[in-house]
């Protein structure tokens, strides 16, 4: 112990000299401007929700303090009063060398608004750390900050350094461990400049389009999808003014980053800093809440772990197998408390109760024969005998009457009462508040009613409830007793449309096996589609090795596509040039040859002729005439040489033999027609004939049929030769 102080000590001592001039500041957004944690966030701001028995903001502040930040501007919006009163009762206002200032706003609806307000206040003087109150980390800021400053010195346009971490996305759902959508980034490997940032990659079905200028401008480029955005940004003051200049920027990533990367007007650059040995993550949804809780219990966030980071007197002990137990708990001898479990102070646990992989808060009363598995039980919860909880979140003050069951993914908001023997269906969200009826369809605007100024009816009810509410409470109880069993209180929120399918993605429950099977199936189908769709190099990594087998199918698909294009062109009188363009693009995407196009177009032409009304062979022939007349230019453009022409003849044969038997008697006439129209040269016909010489009788049907024509051709040729002589 104690010896190797030299190296780190020196590293630390260098930095303060640089930093001494300007105290390091941080902007902490104590509002997520999102609705993922509803209904819980209707009653309590997200940053105060307990994460392993400590409010999330505690982790963020503890990290900022330990990372050497000296001044924090805490921006609160939704439930600002609660946040402020929490801070007043906490230790944070009393810290020396760590100043916390709250900025309260009632009309900010996005991170953009918040930053604009902070810019108006004119409190940020140098580089600052931008973080939201639901982020936790144990990384050391020093290196990232130093890198940022050095880059800034060299290039004043380097305004932001974002912290990223490697984390593999799930192969099944393409979403990250934290339940966020897959993330795709392009980074310059030498300068670490961020060149491209794309969320929601799983909606793109495996294809991704990148501006080719990226490849032109940068000598090397790394494309990565195993990156997790930590939502910790080191920003220069310019970032704030950028937000002010572009008043339509709302979302940090979607607008600001896109604006800087794509529009590129100002030439500002964003860089990345990848952390390897430390941890950083943001609680974005219930799945992330679950994952991060488990990471904390597994001590990835060390030293931000329950036994080190304890509030007040509630010291927690770490025991074997990741069990954290507070000192004062009442536990029955026969209760089994399994691995990776946290039990808060003054909680009592009855006999034969089994708790595994769960977090139980302070002052809970848990009866006997209760099963708690993978769940998060907050403070002051009463769980009576024989209840079962699997992968659920149970907020403060909930009462579960005996025998009630929570299925996976259930969220019980504050003070809900579940009636006796009632089974709460999977993924339901239960709250004492009614679901806001008016749901803004646009997600961007949804947070409007998060705002404490524009209280929607539900929030208002809540405020009354928090005051003296016995009357209303009982009233409510009468209303809903049917909904949550006898004696229950609360409303089950109907899952709003659109997100229905997403419920399992973002819940605390693991993905059910049948869903996994379903997704795997879909992915396999997708993969097939992808391999048919394109052989684009971007997705080639995902291609299955058996692409050759699919080549046949490919051809069929391609033919269909061409036919559809052609028919559309006929019906809508599209110009030939445009059709050529469209077919060309199809050809590229299916990786086909000119010959294939010619074959496909010819096929479509014949079909068109056939589909036109006709009663006799002659009429059919006339139709073919017309079609060929109209579209010869199109066909010709795909017939640069003899080989393609032969292909067309072969195709023609095929058509006559297989799909459109009606045309077979007309084979010679049509062949003649094509010859006359200069679509097919005589050399091609001769080659075709010679190719067929050794074939079976069956194959030679058309050669025989065309014998007269061929003979005539040969004679004509000889005549020509004679003429030449």
């Amino acid at each position: 112990m104690g010896a190797p102080k030299k190296a780190p000590a020196r590293a630390v001592s260098d930095d303060p000299e640089d930093l001494a001039s300007v105290p390091l500041q941080a902007v902490l957004l104590a509002d997520s401007f999102a609705t993922r944690f509803r209904p819980i966030t209707l009653e309590r701001p997200k940053v105060l929700l307990p994460l392993v028995n400590l409010p999330m903001i505690e982790y963020t502040l503890a990290w900022l303090e330990s990372a050497g930040v000296e001044e924090v501007f805490l921006f609160c919006c939704a439930h600002a009063k609660q946040v402020i009163s929490y801070l007043e009762n906490s230790q944070w206002y009393a810290q020396p060398k760590f100043k916390v200032t709250t900025i309260e706003s009632h009309n900010s609806v996005s991170a953009g608004d918040a930053l604009r307000l902070i810019y108006e206040r004119n409190v940020i003087h140098g580089d600052f750390v931008l973080i939201s109150g639901d982020t936790l980390s144990n990384m050391s800021l020093m290196r990232a900050l130093q890198e940022h400053k050095e880059r800034k010195k060299k290039d004043s346009n380097a305004v932001m350094t974002m912290v990223i971490q490697r984390s593999k996305p799930s192969p099944i759902t393409q979403q990250s461990r934290l339940g966020t959508d897959g993330l795709f980034m392009a980074i310059d490997p030498t300068t670490k400049q961020l060149l491209y940032y794309e969320e929601n990659t799983n909606h793109l079905k495996g294809t991704l389009s990148i501006d080719k200028m990226l490849l032109v401008d940068n000598s090397s480029i790394t494309l990565r999808n195993d990156i997790q955005d930590c939502y910790i940004d080191i920003c220069s003051p310019e970032v704030l003014s950028l937000f002010t200049d572009n008043f339509d920027y709302q979302h940090l990533r979607r607008h600001f980053m896109k604006g800087l990367l794509v529009d590129d007007i100002m030439g500002y650059k964003i860089f990345t800093h990848e952390i390897h040995s430390s941890y950083a993550a943001r609680v974005d949804n219930y799945r992330g809440y679950d994952t991060i809780s488990k990471d904390i219990i597994q001590r990835w966030t060390y030293p931000l772990v329950p036994d080190v980071l304890s509030l007040g007197n509630s010291a927690t002990n770490l025991e074997r197998q990741g069990m954290y137990r507070a000192f004062e708990i009442g536990q029955s001898r026969s209760a089994q408390i399994g691995p990776h479990t946290v039990i808060g102070t003054n909680t009592t646990i009855g006999s034969n109760t089994k708790i595994t992989n769960s977090v139980v808060g302070k002052n809970c009363a848990i009866g006997s024969n209760v099963l708690i598995e993978g769940s998060y039980v907050w403070d002051n919860v009463t769980i009576e005998d024989g209840c079962e909880l699997r992968h659920a979140i149970v907020c403060d003050g909930v009462i579960m009457k005996s025998g009630s069951v929570l299925k996976p993914g259930v969220v019980l908001s504050f003070k809900v009462v579940i009636g006796q023997n009632f089974v709460v269906p999977p993924y339901s969200k239960v709250s004492l508040l009614k679901q806001p009826t008016k749901q803004d369809s646009d997600e961007e605007l949804e947070y409007a009613d998060n705002d404490s100024d524009t209280l929607d009816p539900a929030t208002r009810t809540m405020d009354k409830l928090n005051g003296d509410s016995s009357l209303e409470f009982s009233e409510m109880q009468d209303h809903v007793s049917s909904e949550l069993g006898y004696g229950g209180a609360g409303y089950i929120w109907s899952i709003c449309e659109g997100s229905h399918e997403e419920e399992w993605r973002h819940s605390v429950a693991p993905i059910p096996p049948e869903k996994v099977a379903e997704i795997t199936q879909v992915i396999e189908d997708d993969l097939e589609l992808v391999s048919q769709d394109s052989n684009a190099p971007a997705s080639s990594g995902e291609l299955k090795p058996d692409t050759q087998i699919n080549a046949e199918d490919d051809a069929v698909y391609f033919e269909k596509e061409v036919e559809a294009t052609f028919l559309r062109a006929v019906n809508e009188n599209v110009e030939v040039d445009h059709v050529i363009l469209e077919v060309n693009s199809l050809r590229l995407s299916y990786n086909m040859q000119a010959a294939d196009c010619a074959g496909a177009i010819f096929h479509s032409m014949m079909k068109l002729a056939l589909d036109a009304t006709h009663s006799s062979q002659n009429e059919l022939l006339r139709n073919v005439h017309e079609t060929v007349n109209t579209w010869q230019k199109l066909l010709k453009s795909y017939l640069p040489g003899k080989d393609e022409e032969i292909e067309v003849i072969l195709k023609f044969e095929e058509i006559c033999l297989e799909s459109v038997r009606e045309l077979s008697p007309l084979f010679t006439q049509i062949l003649h027609l094509l010859y006359e129209k200069d679509i097919i040269t005589e050399e091609a016909i001769e080659d075709w004939e010679s190719e067929k010489k050794d074939a079976d009788e069956a194959d030679r049907v058309f050669v025989k049929q065309a014998e007269i024509f061929l003979k005539w051709l040969r004679e004509a040729e000889e005549d020509d030769e004679e003429d030449d002589e």
Partner: protein
Amino acid sequence: MPDVQALVNEFLFKLKNGEILKIEGSHATARQTAILLRSVISQQRIPHTHQAAALIDAVKAVGEQLVAANPVELAVGNIVRRVLHIIREEDLSLTTVAMAGLNVSPVSDDEGETDQDDHPVLSAAAVAAASRNTLRPPSLQTLLEDLPDSTAIPHTSSSGGDSDGKSKSADKSTRSRKLKHDVIEALNELIGDIDTCHEQIAEQAVEHIHQNEVILTLGSSRTVLEFLCAAKEKKRSFRVFIAEGAPRYQGHLLAKELVARGLQTTLITDSAVFAMISRVNMVIVGAHAVMANGGVIAPVGLNMVALAAQRHAVPFVVLAGSHKLCPLYPHNPEVLLNELRSPSELLDFGEFSDCMDFGSGTGSPLLHVVNPTFDYVPPKLVSLFITDTGGHNPSYVYRLIADYYSNDDLVLQRKPAPTN
């Protein structure tokens, strides 16, 4: 007082975040604790009665916070207890001086009366002198060794026959000032002791390391480094095997330092210890703490080294400054006195992130990484402790502890929180 509170807060913060800031070794922590307590004592206003009690309360209040901030860093608690012991002793010696000829028992105005002995008590000067090279009076060793001359003073000194009541009241102000003064004096001694403990230990190096020996150590410890260097300076030529000390690999740093000082060094993996131990003459390691039963809390991996040493009858020597002597007994040491650190020291998070995707499967983590900081080496595996007061047997540690701490102070934490 606010100044002190600020200092305390700052130190608390350092202790809590010791990992992030990477400042502390237990030596530095011990020193800083002593300095902090010194300023607490010097700022503490002393009432006319129960001066010692007031001081003890003040120190206890601060000490409790410090210990709670980082219960694993035992050095903090040790120093707090020693300071409390010093206060009690100084008070006792003052009282004995004041009440000449009387026994210890009539000292009713402080809590110090429960001090472990009805033996003669040393004066402050004597304590200071004694603590330098040898031990406190009640130890057998001290009785056998020649006592410093000054020890004679308190026992026999009788400062005349003035009546008790009078002298007490008249003496009050001077006495309180004297108590504080003496305590701070003794504290300075303590800080000096901590400062010099490395040298004190290193001085004994030549007695233990002989020509052409092979020494094995694990990880890195400043005490061990200085110990080896001291032997080197005395022209001993010997070789050092260093087990690297995964997962923190501090052995690498030690190897660097030793090579810089011209020592023949061999670096091995931890798992090679058993293979190499038969060629080793002595194992010399540092410790995180020495418990009252003679067991050692040491960097992880040392229990294995100790077992290997025992198997091949190689002496297992632990170097520990007296600030590492802890008066507690190790109950469940693997868990309670250990610190489980982040798995990131063992695994790359990015590489293993798919093993920790709780979205699929049963939702329960299948991969569990355990990364303890310390090992517990039971006393039977330790051959010798070398402290700044000399070499001791594990079975003797409890006596050493009785010299440094008073029984009242053993339990610091579980008391109801004092009002401060």
